[in-house]
Symmetry: C2
Subunit: 725 residues, 2 copies
């Protein structure tokens, strides 16, 4: 039953409007007579009839004031809750008795009671909720100031000027040049997205490029991402996403509903949204998630075709979602949570199963710990929650079957998560578990029964990071989600979480007096040091096992390359010193299995008498690098050249190599394909471009192929208008 | 990307299991050797090897104890948290050294860490979370008691007996006869659905027929509904619904997630669910919502075809949802809210727009007040919320675009709604607005500007009713949702609701000193009395307007038949007496427009000097009746006859008349079609049946045609087993 037919009949007096972009017709007849016959002709005009000659949306005046200069778009873009001006040129100067109003309409069937038809008056006559004033009158030309309310609907409005005549309303006809885009306004104290700090606004609303952290918490890597929210077509693509979601227009002033709908729409699950997730390592039917340079191409293609884009993994969902949010004016940032208990069922147990001999029981282990997971935070007020829970909120666009979210997640208050107040919407319990899950090690006996033998309360959620303001450095924000482990505050939070239904493991396990740790030093060969520490009263011998695997960043095993039993050191006694066993994993042992995965996972398990020990270590391999160089005059509209260079460091050829580059406000998305790059040989790729925007700008390049994924680099340049920086 | 391919690779170690019904293969090889070679042969059997001869699920013993006798199904049905017995006959009596366990599996890739593979042991050896005991051993036959945990997964399990031998596990092979269904248990204090009162359990879990209230709060009507949760195929259909929703099996013990998923799946929107909503009055492509006798046919057809069923309106969604809930063991009931502000956007304003002359401005009015709306309540614990919010929870399966719910709604705590604690999940604000919205009357001036002139705080949510326990009478439960209007508690609730983001109208309007009320007396002609009361200082004349329309039960206007200006009484003074104007609406004025709508809406608006008045009255027309008679011996498996009689009371023929009947546990769904029933002529339809269940039973019949909808009747009979009641 589509709404395009009249099936709304009997359910709604008019169909619920959900399309912002598809309204091209004239809303009004040119002249709309008043209904009542009995009205005396009290508004007979003085002199000649008034008419509108021209309507000027004053882009040069408005855009700087509204921080919307960077949008590469024909129409005016302004932010709500703040005055913008329109210059109307009439047929003659206004007289005392003249009466007119501006009308702003959005979507189909616009209505004053729903905020989709707003009449703005400029005299004593009462109009709609947006206020109006005459800023300046000079002859026939009048400069009008209009201030949309701080909770106005966000989207694309149509503008009309209506003149009151004695018999009815005389209006301008539909003119797409006077359409305007209204956004959220982080500069307006009454707006739900208000952010007081200017540097923070510059980063979280205005910055169109950034870095996303990956890897492991002890060896963090980063990749660039072009958010590109000001590039041509992106704003329309974001509104297209809302239209495709069928979100009623009159809800689009509500920040909570909008970000929630956005988190649902960025993934394709269940609503034909923007991106299709694929973790299978087979990307032959689309683009590998590692190969993207940014959001722009993805959003433009989705808006042009309506077909979901292949493929994404968590950083792609987060990067594209960040563009959507910032484009609409919402302060947002990308977060990386290291050791993330993703795909949890809302309880605090990530269960790893081991066999009786201590080796990993992969067939029966269902949970995994993601090396890292990326989501977004938005900075908004939460009027639907008790005081104190506003500020940063988690929203996650990566689809997951096992949360209630039904392929959307959040907004969940970060403060509520820290306080364990999981009784508030949305999906707080799920996010809480992602950062707080305990890792429970189970022994599975021959009969299939599980017995927990160790609980690691610190492995999950070891570090939560985002990019620092104004710099590509990582900023540790773990303390915003979690109190220090074991502190009284932390205990209170965990107790609350359990009260609110998050199950925890409470096995009474004997204290382990045997511990084992793994340290790794990287090179082509991997050197593993396994240290055993024995705090029991007697010397003992540990029967141990080393499992080495190549893992996806989700922690799921791609290929095991080492399953080795060994004996821990003999005859060590009750000391604080540890005894060490060394392993060397030569490159040729793991390299053939790396494929597109660059993480190695080592698990050591050991048994002595009644005691069991385990340790897990994940390392990320280093990738070769890409070189980016720029030459030319760094000035708007002056030609520049960018050169991407790369040398294949391996002793095997790289095949099917895709290179891509983009730079918001600088260079549009470009690609180059190399069918083969021979061992030790180099390539060099030049592109010319003409910068569009000034200020600090970034170009990102990514090299991606089946054997070598996501080699990325970036270069920063400062573009000036007139020759000085 | 379907999960049937290996796209889970890299994301999950195994695909997330979401299908309960599609598991027919053997889970195990007949003999599963132990892994370890080093295990000494310590369990050498004494005497001959032990094997299983027979497994008896003891249905005759278990079903009465678990209140599952009524299910018309081959396999055992039991409730969790309570012991059931299984009789295993071995090849010889058990010896001291013998070791065995029962294993219960559900879904694909079952796992002990997810509760989908549960091993039950019967001696000292530790097993899975369900407890086991040997109730009785008699030679080779052993009666085993198994007690699933009170939070076990709900659904269809497969049963195996595994004998420990020296080399491995010897198991029975897959036997569908030993499959069992595990349900929620309202009799178990540890179960989240525990309901202490036995009479309440009898009604809310066990009753398979009931009444649903419709009409208007001052003239309530009711229609029967056959829930039929015990009829053949219905339990499998409910599990089919969960499978179709792709709800992970291991979440199906969680009552909150399950009811939320159910509320999404009962409507077809966005997930290919059970029912398609249609309020358009054109039901040519399916069955009219008024024509159903109950849920059974709908559920069976959906489970058989996987195709959504056409068509439903709110009582159908609620009736089918009730069957789903009760079938799985969840205490639930159908609720009717009279004057429901459905399709709200979460604020407390239902805006009705009027023109300057006081006539309704239908073109600009977007909101409507439903004569009534039906949803469900479930009685569950809410561990995810602060204490005190457990008990009845609202769940609503009728799809609506304008809530965040994305076509599902709830569970929302009724207590939280009463207290205005809208900061808790799920969709509390939306339900709150449905029962508390203020009706704001706006005048729309010639320029399109709205000015509120009256706020009616009591019109919406005038009465919330459900069927009484053990009787078809209506029970007023309004007080569970709302404090008395204007009380201190009510004010506190409304203040909290506003704190939590529910916008209210706060126009400062002058007290109206003119009031108008409408009273109606029904007959074929409608007599309308309009009373004006003038409490001003001076006499005045009211310019008034009467609008009469046929409305859908959603309050949306189908057809206007009267738009009449009139003058209120002259020269009345400041008294408490009212002055009356009478109207007569002859039958021939409204009858041609009734169609399938049986509600008339009258709106009187008036103006005098500065004051405006309005009143709304909705009436439901009475329908002719159907007669049901039953004859024969009221005994299980004895033949009985039911006769449905009807006389066409109108002076026009009824065409395309569908009759249907069903009686849970009595008579399966039957239909009869009459192409025409002439004016004043009668029909008589006989069916024979053999009762399946004893106790108080009900047969429902419905007559439905384009010109006359939902003529319904029922008859109660008491069926006995052996000849006495």
């Amino acid at each position: 039953m589509s709404k395009e037919t009249n099936n709304y009949k009997g359910r709604y007096s008019e169909p619920v409007p959900t399309s912002n972009l598809q309204n091209d017709e004239n809303d009004f007849p040119e002249f709309e007579p008043f209904d009542e016959d009995a009205t005396p002709r009290s508004f007979a005009p003085v002199g000649a009839a008034l008419s509108v000659q021209h309507v000027d949306m004053c882009q040069q005046l408005n855009k700087p004031n509204h921080y919307t200069t960077a949008y590469d778009i024909q129409n005016l873009v302004v932010r709500r809750g703040q005055e913008f001006v329109v210059r109307v040129t009439f047929s003659r100067p206004l007289a005392e008795a003249d009466d007119f109003q501006l009308e702003f309409l959005i979507g189909s069937n616009p209505s004053p009671s729903k905020g989709t038809l707003v009449a703005v008056t400029f005299g004593s006559r009462h109009g709609g909720p947006w206020s109006g004033q005459i800023v300046e009158a000079q002859g026939e030309s009048v400069l009008l100031g209009i201030t949309p309310t701080a909770d106005a609907i966000v989207g694309k409005f149509r503008t009309y000027v209506a003149i009151v005549t004695s018999g009815g309303m005389q209006r301008t006809s539909r003119d797409a040049n006077t359409d305007l885009y209204l956004l959220f306004n982080a500069w307006c104290p009454q707006d739900a997205v208000f952010l007081a700090d200017e540097a923070a606004r510059r980063e979280y609303v205005m910055s169109d490029y950034g870095v996303i952290f990956q890897g492991t918490v002890s060896a963090m890597s980063q990749r660039n991402w072009m958010y590109g929210q000001f590039e041509r077509g992106v704003l329309d693509a974001c509104i297209y996403i809302l239209d495709a979601s069928r979100m009623p227009i009159y809800n689009r002033g509500n920040i909570i509903q909008l970000v929630r709908k956005g988190s649902a729409m960025i993934n394709s699950q269940d609503d034909n949204g923007v991106l299709v997730g694929n973790w299978s390592d087979d990307y032959s039917m689309g683009m590998p998630p590692t190969s993207w340079t940014g959001s722009v191409k993805i959003l433009l293609q989705y808006a042009n075709t309506g077909v979901s884009i292949c493929f994404a993994q968590c950083w792609v969902f987060a990067g594209v979602f960040n563009t959507f949010l910032r484009c609409l004016g919402i302060p947002s940032r990308v977060i990386t949570n290291f050791n993330s208990a993703h795909d949890n069922t809302g309880n605090l147990k990530t269960d790893l199963i081991f066999k009786t001999d201590g080796t990993p029981d992969r067939r029966n282990t269902r949970d995994s710990i993601w090396n890292y997971h990326c989501w977004n935070e938005v900075f908004i007020v939460r009027p639907d929650l008790p005081a104190g829970l506003s500020g940063w909120q988690v929203v996650d666009a990566t689809p997951q079957e096992t949360s209630d979210g039904h392929f959307r997640c959040g907004p969940a208050s970060v403060t509520a998560i820290k306080e364990g107040l999981l009784c508030h919407p949305f999906d707080s319990g799920f996010v809480f578990a992602e950062v707080n899950s305990d890792v429970v090690f189970h022994k599975r006996d021959r009969y299939g029964t599980l017995s927990p033998y160790r609980v690691d309360k610190t492995h999950v959620g070891q570090g939560i990071y985002t990019q620092a303001v104004g710099s590509p450095a990582p900023m540790d924000i773990t303390h915003t989600y979690k109190y220090p482990e074991g502190s009284a505050d932390d205990n209170r939070t965990m107790a609350r979480a359990e009260e609110y239904g998050c199950e925890r493991d409470h096995s009474e396990l004997p204290d382990t007096q045997l511990t084992v740790t793994i340290t790794v030093s990287l090179g082509h060969d991997v050197n593993l040091a396994v240290d055993f520490q024995n705090q029991t009263e007697h010397s003992t011998t540990v029967q141990a096992h080393l499992a080495g695997s190549v893992v996806f960043y989700t922690g799921v095993i791609s290929k095991s390359f080492r399953d080795q039993n060994f004996t821990g050191p003999h005859k060590y006694s009750n000391t604080r010193m540890s005894e060490r066993v060394m392993f060397r994993i030569p490159a040729q042992e793991y390299m053939p299995h790396l494929g597109s995965q660059l993480s190695l996972q080592f698990i050591v398990t050991g048994q002595a008498d009644d005691q069991s020990v385990s340790a897990i270590k994940v390392i990320e391999m280093q990738t070769p690098s890409l070189t980016l160089m720029v030459s030319g005059q760094p000035q708007v509209q002056q030609e520049m050249i960018v050169t991407v260079s790369f040398t294949n460091p391996f002793n095997f050829p790289l095949q099917g190599v895709h290179l891509a580059m983009e730079g918001a406000g600088l260079v549009t998305h470009r690609t180059r394909y190399y069918s083969v790059i021979e061992p030790l040989s180099s390539i060099s790729w030049k592109e010319s471009f003409f910068p569009r925007l000034d200020g600090p700008r970034c170009i990102v390049a990514v090299l991606d192929s089946i054997s070598l994924r996501q080699v990325t680099s970036s270069v920063l340049i400062c573009i000036v208008h007139t020759g000085y920086c």
